[in-house]
Symmetry: D2
C-alpha cells in the first residue's frame, strides 16, 4: 500500500469541477494569451467576489512566477523588497528576486509575520545612496509557517506603508486557508483596500496551476501584460488558467476548499492537543507543526509521508502536516487513531 | 455562427487523450516539482523515441519560458545569441532574452533559416572585448514563417557550430509539424546528435501547455533545475506537464498531430495553387502564407478568422493560415469551397 | 622614432591646466563621493554655461558607464532604447545596455543620425505586449562617424519625442567637437531645452577621465545617485572628476579644445580635398574619413598610426583620422606634406 | 580654521609621486583601454612583487566596480556569494551585486571575518534547487571594522573552499593596511596562492583612483576584459590607472603607505589605551574604534571630523578614526594632546 501524503497541498491534481470544466470547454475555439472568454468571465467573478471593480486581474502559472513578475514590475533598479527571513522569496525561490536585480532585506521574526516596528528598523538603517532603498513590503498570508494576519494587523501594516511611501504586497499562495482560518477575521473583500497588490493562490487551493494577481493601485497596473510576457508567463492557451479560476469562484468553491483544508488540519491538531502534544506556533491554517516524540515520528513515517521540520531536543522534533481540498476525512481519522495507538506503544 | 479560426494552432484545448489522462490520474498522490511518476515515465518515452538515453529532459510551461531559461542558463554575461531577425526571441518575446542580460545578434534572411555563411559574417565583425561575444546560435524549426530545416542543412549548421565553438539551440515550438513536413527528411532521432539543446513544443501540438527541453550536451545540463526554479517555471503540480507528454509520446500521437496539421495546411495550399494563387515562401508545414486578392480576403474574413500578414501590392496581400490537431477536415473543405466561390465572384 | 597617432582622441593625458589643478589641490581635505567643493563648483560652472539652473548634474568616469547608468535608471524592464545601428551602445559597449536588461532597437542610417520618420517606423512595428516598448531615443553628437546635429534637426527630434512620450538622450562623448563644428549652429545652452538628458564628454575633450551627465527632466533626476553608486561609478575621491570639469569650464577651455580639434581635422580634410580625395560623409568634426589609395595608406602607416575603416574597392579604402586638444599643428603640417609627397610617388 | 578629518582615508588627493608621474607622462602618446606601456609595466611590477607570474592583472576604478565585475563574471545565474553581514557588498554598495542577479548569503559575525564553520552552516541549509547555490566566498581584508586575517586563518579558509568547490575572493580595498598590520603575518606573496581572486586597493592607499584585480585561477581569467568593458569600467585613458599602480609598486611605496597609516592609527590607539579607554575590537589597522565619553566626543568634534559609530551606553559611544598616507604626525600629536586635555576637563 502507498503511504498517504501529508507532505504538502499539491500532491493530487485539481478539484473535480475543474477537470470537468476543462473537458467541457475543450473544443471551443478561443483567443490566445488570456484574452479568451473564460478568463474574462473569471476576472469578472473575482472582482465581484472582492467587491472591487477597479482592481486589475491577471492570472499566471505559479507562485514564484507571480512573485518575480510583481516585484520586478514595481521596483526601480536601486529599490529593495522587505521580507520576513522566512519569506518564500527569501528562502525558496532560488534567488528569483535577486535574478531580476533586487535585494531582499530580511527581518527575523518569531511567527513569519511583519509589523510596522520591524519594518521601521529596516528603514532606519537605510539612510543614503550607498545602500538600497526599501520600497516594497512583502508578506505572505498564510505565512510559510502557517500563521495568518488579522484584519487589524493588516490595517496597521497598510497605514504604515502608506505613511512611509512603501508598497504592500501579499503573497497569497495559501490565501484560501488564511481567509478561512478561525484565527483571523480578514475577508477577501478587505484585500483590495488594504494591499497595493496581492495574489490569490490556485495551485495550493484546488487548481492544477494558476495564481491570480490582483492589482489595486493604478500606478502598478500600467503595462503589466508586458511584464507577464517578458518573464515567460503568458500562456498561449491562457484559457487553461481562466477556466480554473472561473470554477474556483463559482459558488465560493475557492473558500469551501480553504474551509475543508483547515477543518482537516484542525481535526488533527485538536486531537494532538488532547493527547498533550505541543506545537511550534499556534495551529492557524492548513499547515500545522506538532512537536512529537522521535520514536512516534519514525513509526508514523512507515504509513504516512510528511516533512520533518526541526529538531526540538534529544527526544522530540517538530513535523509539518499539510492538508488540502483532497484530504479525506477517513484518512485523517485513521491517522489520529494511529497516533493514539503508536503514542501509547511509545510510552 | 462563430467564425472559424485559422489564426493559430492554440485556439482549442488539448487533444482528448490528454484530457482523459488528466481526469484518470487526478486523485493519485504524487511528488511535486516534476518528480512525479508521470513525468519520469514521459521522460523515458521521449528518450526512447529519440533513441538518446544520455539526453537530459525537463518540461516547462511555454516557449518564451523555455527560451529564456535555456539561453540564460548557457551564456555568461558578455556572451550573445545569434538569431534570424524573424526569430521569436528577437521579435515576439517582449525582450525576454535581453531581460536576462544578453544581446540578440540578428541576421536578415529570406526564409527565416540560418546558414553558416550568415553566421560567419556575424562572427567576423565581433572582433574584440568592445563587442559582445556570439556564443549560441538560435534557430527555430519550423521557423516563424513556416519553413523547415532539412537534415543536411542541420548537419552543416551543427558542424559549423562545433568548429566555431558555438552552441546550437533549436526552438521547436512547432517541431511536430517540422518533423512531419514533406519538405524535410529530418527525424526526431537526429536532433540529439545535431543540436546541443532543443525543445519539443507541446502547446502548439496538442497539449494544454508544456514544452520539453532536451539537453544533449553534458556541460549544459549541470544545475538545470536551479534555472527552471529561479525563472518561476517549476510547477508545484509538475504532473500536469508530465501527464501530457506521456500521452503525446504514446503511440506517436505527437507525430500524428504534426501529420494531421500539415495535411490540413497542404490541402488548402494545393487547392490554392490549383486556383493559381502564389505564396510567400513555399508551403512547408502547418503555417502557410498565400497571397490573395484583398477583396477575397475581406469576404473570407466574414466567415473565418486569420491573420493578415503583409501587403504585397495595391490589390494583393499575404495572409497567414494556421492549422492544428483540431482542424476539422470538413471545415477545411468548406473553406476551400468558399475560396472558390468567393474567388469567382471577385473576378 | 615613435609613430604619431591619429588613431583616437585619447592617446595623451589631460590638458595641462587639469594636471596643474590636480597638483594644486592635492593636499586639501575634501568630502568623498562627489560631495567635495570642487565638484560643487564645477556643477555651478556647467549650469551657468548652459544657462540652466534647474538641470541636475552628476559626473562619472566613462562613456559606457554614463550610458548604462542613464538608460537603466530611466527604463522599466519591458522598455527599450532606440538607436542608430552605428550607435556606440549598440556596437561598442560589449552588450552593456542589454546587461541591464534592455533591448536596443536599431535603425540603419546613412549618416549615423536619427530622424522622426525613422523612429516612427520603429514605433509602428511595436504594437503590443509581445514586443518591447520603445521609450527612449539615444543619439550621439557628434556621431560615431563624425557627423553632427543642427539645431533644427534636434528641435524636430525633441518635438517628436515629446509628442510620442519618448525620452531623448544625447551621448556627448565628443560633444565639444560637435558644438564647435562649422556644420552646426547648435549651442550648449540649447541642450537642456532640447533633451531630457545628455552627457558632456570629458575624456575625449581634454580630461583624464570624466563625463558630466546633465538631467533636464525632474522625473529622471530622482534617486540618481543610487544608480551611480549601484553601478560602481561613485568614486571615493570624486574630487578627481570635479577638479577636471572645473578646469574645463573655466574660460571656456572645453570649447577651445573642441575648436582646436576641429581645426586640425579640417586642415587635413581641406588639404585632402584640394588633392582631389573623397570622403565617407562630409567632414564635420574631429573625426574624418578620407578615402585614400591603399598604396598611400600603406606608406603613411609607416610613420603614422590611424584606423583603417572600410574597404571601398580594389584600390581604395576609407581611413579614420582623429584629432584632439593635443594634436600639434606642426605634426599636421608634416602629415599633409607626407601625403602630398607619398601621393605623388604613388602616381 | 578647517577641521581636520579622521573620517576616512580618501579625503586628500594622491601620494605626490603619483601626481608627479601623471605630469611627467602626460604628453606621451599611448594606446587606449589599458593597453598602454605604463599599465603593462605596472602589471609586471605587481606580479613580481607577488612572486606570481601566472596571475592575471586588470586595473579598474573603484571598489564597488571591482566587486561587481568580479562576482558577476564568476557566478552563473543561480549561484550566490557568501559574505559577512558587515561585508561591503552586503551593506554599502546599493545592491550592486543583486543588480547583477545574485543573492548575497550573509553570516553574522563578531569581528567581520569568516570561518569555515560559519560557511559550512550556510552550505548545510542550501540543500536543493529551491534555494540558491553558494559558490563564492567574499571576505574583506582588512574588514569593514578594521580587523585583519592571519596567514593561518586564510590558509584554513582556502583549504575549506577548495574542499567544498567554492571560489575565494578577497576585497582588498584596504589591503595595504592589512598586510602591514602588526596583528597579521600575511604577506602579499601569500595571496596568489591562497585566493582565487582578490583586489589590491589603490584609492584608499594613496592613489586618486584604481583597484588592481588579481586573478589566480585560470578558469576565472577567460574573457575578463569583456566583463570590464560591459560594466563600464574600461577607461579610454587606462594609462591613468597604470601610471598610479606603477608608482605604488615602485620601491614598495604601496607598503610604506600602509605602514604609515597603521603607525598613525596605532599612535592614537596606544595613547588612548594609556588613558584607559576601551575599543570596539582590538585595533589592528588604520581604522580604529575607541569608546569615548560622549562629552569628550562632542568637544573633539569641534576641532576634528570623524564618524560616530555606535552608542555603547548612556555616557559612552564608539567612534571611528581613520588614518591614511596623508595623515600628518603633528596633527596626530595635537589630536592626542587635545584628547588628554579635553579628557581631563571632562572628569
Amino acid at each position: 500500500m502507498e503511504k498517504y501524503n501529508f507532505t504538502n497541498d499539491y500532491s493530487e491534481g485539481a478539484h473535480p469541477n475543474i477537470i470537468k470544466a476543462l473537458e467541457k470547454t475543450n473544443l471551443i475555439q478561443q483567443s490566445g494569451y488570456s484574452e479568451d472568454a473564460y478568463t474574462k468571465e473569471a476576472i469578472k467573478s473575482i472582482k465581484k467576489r472582492m467587491n472591487s471593480e477597479t482592481s486589475d486581474v491577471h492570472i499566471v502559472s505559479g507562485g514564484t512566477q507571480a512573485n518575480l513578475i510583481v516585484i520586478s514590475s514595481i521596483l526601480k533598479p536601486h529599490e529593495a523588497v522587505v521580507s520576513a527571513a522566512t519569506g518564500h522569496i527569501n528562502v525558496h525561490e532560488a534567488g528569483a528576486i535577486e535574478a531580476t536585480g533586487h535585494k531582499v532585506c530580511t527581518i527575523n521574526t518569531e511567527d513569519g509575520k511583519l509589523t510596522p516596528e520591524q519594518i521601521q528598523k529596516v528603514l532606519d538603517i537605510h539612510e543614503d545612496e550607498h545602500m538600497v532603498k526599501p520600497k516594497l513590503v512583502y508578506i505572505s498570508n498564510s505565512t510559510e509557517i502557517g500563521t495568518v494576519y488579522t484584519k487589524k494587523e493588516l490595517d496597521t501594516l497598510h497605514d504604515f506603508c502608506k505613511a512611509k511611501d512603501l508598497y504592500l504586497y501579499m503573497d497569497g499562495a495559501r490565501l484560501g486557508a488564511a481567509l478561512e482560518s478561525p484565527k483571523s477575521d480578514l475577508k477577501m473583500e478587505d484585500l483590495p483596500k488594504l494591499t497595493d497588490i496581492f495574489y490569490i493562490g490556485g495551485t495550493k487551493n484546488g487548481a492544477l496551476l494558476g495564481e491570480a494577481i490582483i492589482i489595486n493601485n493604478d500606478k502598478l497596473s500600467e503595462d503589466f501584460r508586458f511584464h507577464i510576457k517578458q518573464k515567460g508567463a503568458m500562456l498561449a492557451k491562457g484559457r487553461v488558467l481562466g477556466i480554473q479560476f472561473l470554477e474556483l469562484f463559482k459558488d465560493d468553491l475557492f473558500f469551501e476548499i480553504g474551509k475543508h483544508s483547515n477543518a482537516m488540519a484542525f481535526k488533527i491538531s485538536s486531537s494532538l492537543k488532547d493527547l498533550g502534544y505541543d506545537f511550534l506556533g499556534e495551529p492557524s491554517s492548513n499547515q500545522i507543526f506538532p512537536i512529537l516524540p522521535n520514536s512516534l515520528i519514525t513509526n508514523l513515517l512507515e504509513k504516512y509521508n510528511f516533512y520533518k521540520w526541526s529538531k526540538i531536543d534529544k527526544n522530540y522534533s517538530a513535523v509539518r502536516l499539510v492538508t488540502s481540498w483532497a484530504t479525506d476525512e477517513l484518512v485523517v481519522d485513521r491517522f489520529i487513531e494511529d497516533i493514539k495507538k503508536l503514542g501509547e506503544r511509545n510510552e
